[in-house]
Symmetry: D2
Subunit: 247 residues, 4 copies
């Protein structure tokens, strides 16, 4: 494995996209895995370390500024992290609430914002100074900040106002960050994942056609490709969906 001194941090590691992204970036970098529940990263940390990579996990609630600050305090004490953060992926999913607007509590409505908007703020505040620091040292690939988003970032559906307001806000945040930090060499991406992801929880979901669920490994491959784009040629937004998805 190459350049183990570089780091990637993945927030929102669970059984799906986060884990696949972690494994993919761990082929080249040390990886820091953040999730609220340690059970979400513990096995993965062991797996990556056992297979010749390097991984650490930290219990973190990204919607809580103090929790994010504590996680990065710890990370900055980790050898090499401080000056070698190459990539940061914000993959925090949050609850997917489907409910009539009039039945939605304030707490439920705000959860979409807290996970996707406010959480994105805390994570970006933590990683951007580090990515800017890395950029000064002319790394192989431009420092990269990728947000995992959804079709709900483009269309506010009935019953989905909590999730959708959060994802619209996330999209807006990525645009503001692209326009401010792109010229400083940081690559910011809004990745619209449109479809059901093939994870244990969706194993039983049946579709008429085969391969109707997005493979998290291929999302990870695309994220890695985005990371390797030179600064002459940044992709700031792309969609990823199964061939048979209606859109």
């Amino acid at each position: 494995m190459a350049s183990q001194k570089m780091w990637a941090v993945v927030a929102g590691v669970g059984p799906g996209t986060g884990a696949s992204v972690a494994r993919r970036f761990a082929q080249s970098y040390s990886v820091a895995l953040l999730a609220r529940n340690p059970s979400n990263y513990e096995d993965l940390v062991k797996e990556i370390n056992a297979s010749g990579g390097r991984a650490i996990g930290i219990s973190t609630d990204c919607s809580d500024g103090a929790s994010v600050a504590a996680a990065f305090e710890q990370l900055k004490k980790t050898e090499g992290f401080n000056t070698n953060l190459a990539a940061a992926i914000y993959n925090v999913g949050g609850r997917f609430i489907r409910k009539s607007f009039l039945e939605l509590t304030e707490e439920e409505f705000e959860t979409g914002w807290k996970t996707n908007g406010l959480g994105g703020y805390h994570f970006s505040k933590a990683v951007l100074p580090l990515l800017l620091e890395t950029e000064k040292a002319s790394p192989q690939f431009p420092p990269t900040l990728i947000f995992t988003s959804a079709t709900a970032a483009m269309r506010g559906g009935a019953m989905f106002s909590s999730f959708s307001t959060g994802k619209f806000a996330m999209r807006s945040l990525t645009q503001s960050l692209s326009r401010e930090f792109g010229p400083k060499g940081i690559h910011v991406v809004h990745a619209i994942i449109d479809g059901v992801i093939d994870i244990p929880r969706t194993k039983e979901w049946k579709f008429d056609l085969p391969d109707a669920k997005i493979s998290p490994e291929s999302i990870a491959d695309s994220y890695w490709h985005l990371h390797t784009q030179p600064r002459t040629s940044f992709t700031n937004e792309l969609d990823i969906r199964p061939y048979c998805e209606k859109w």
Copy 2:
């Protein structure tokens, strides 16, 4: 003046759009004016009442659920309000923060959401049951809920992540509400006001061309037109900008 028994409620009454909208709807309806600071509506309430209309003002902070609840508690005790709400306009502007992302405090970042997203939630929760009630009585025009938005709902600019995340969230909310409550006869509109509004605060702002600032009266005329659209023909989104605005 006609059908004074119908009501319109305007949240976010100040010297600009809110006041013009209030005056325009007061030509046909009784109007309830909400603003945090009573000085924002007191003169207008007097003016409308003195000229043969009917207006009341209530100090309300729309980002605070308890404050909105209290305001509507009071309104529901007002004669006729309960069963005759014809239109609701959410025109709360909030602070327009221009700041590098890394210098933005959490409180500053969240203010965009609180004003445009969360405030829109509280206001919509209060008015939608009333608008649905009105709808049952086959009113002259479909009950209408209009949100005053901005170009920042369509594009996240550098330095504007607070305002823009809030406006993206507002746009998303209007789409969710349109799709859920449109089929129930409620007309929900996202109005993208793109440009400088001609109000006392912008009086000294100079442009190369005349009429370069949006007249709040014409915004009000368009809002009234939107309200009169029959349910066969709802406009859910439109832009309004000066002829010479770059876009």
Copy 3:
């Protein structure tokens, strides 16, 4: 009727939107009605002239530059037309082809472009110099050019590549014209009509809900409202759809 000396020209007059727009504008202006087939405007011309308005009809194929030139040659000889064109509405519909891409002939594929893109070009080339001329005389309302478009301008559906490429091109054209001629005082509008219009041809189409078809009269009311917007406050794009339309 007021200011019969001002003119409106409506291209694409048939039994639906075009006729309603013609009647609406004929309440204030003289109207010139263009359609390929005289049977599409003859009765309407009689109706408007009989009811105190003024109308003339000219057989015109808007996708044919020579035909448009001939029509305007004739119109310019009509009293007052030359210096008093207040509004121009491009409402040419064209064939709505639903066909697998591989079965689509070149002629079929190009028909969407010819009707919506090229026809829009010929019509705009003819009316813009006249609208600019009118603008010099400080008319009551800014000279207005409205295009009737469709959801197919925003989304390329399977089987609809002919219609949709044409409508995308039409939308693009309206943006270019807005940005060039807006600063010269001309109001250009892209109106996205999303749904089935209530015309004789769709009379038998049944929906689960009442009022599920767009009333052409209300489209005409909105077009007239757009025409009355002052130059401080132009709407360049709006959608119009039934309350129960899925979008």
Copy 4:
């Protein structure tokens, strides 16, 4: 080089993106290069053949159905082409006309459509049956059809109505094709190239910042990555722009 029996066809080969895409795909496939002027592909054909790849060039005007048909007639006689087309890239640029709408001739206005819309139609009609044939044989990567587009596909600028109507139409076409042929396993992509490409013609164009021009090699790398996406995870639209591009 691997699987030389698979083919890629690149329409619009010149000194920039087309040549880079041809070189990139020639690392794995035989390549057929189409351009109106043989001088645009002759050296490249020699270069690829000399370096162990396989390339042929055919003079083709993609806006002319007969020319495209003749080119593919010839290609189908080429060993292996008929059943092994893995990727098709439509990279025809056309003239970039900057002109006031009122000065634009019909021929100039239509050139954007002919290159981007009609040319895309002819090319797609020729390659889709072949890509569908390839798909039946379960190729390593899903058969892929990529269109090189531009920001003008998203925004109709003043003075750019010819180019922009063409690019809007191209975008629409890619959506129709994605939605029809995606479910049949064909991967269709609209690639929005936003910025100046670093080619001989732009060599002297100076910018304040280094790397302000898009490297055609990195576009080619992204196109190849898109081609390798499995059908569970198709990207249908992405943008590519320099880090310092205003957008």
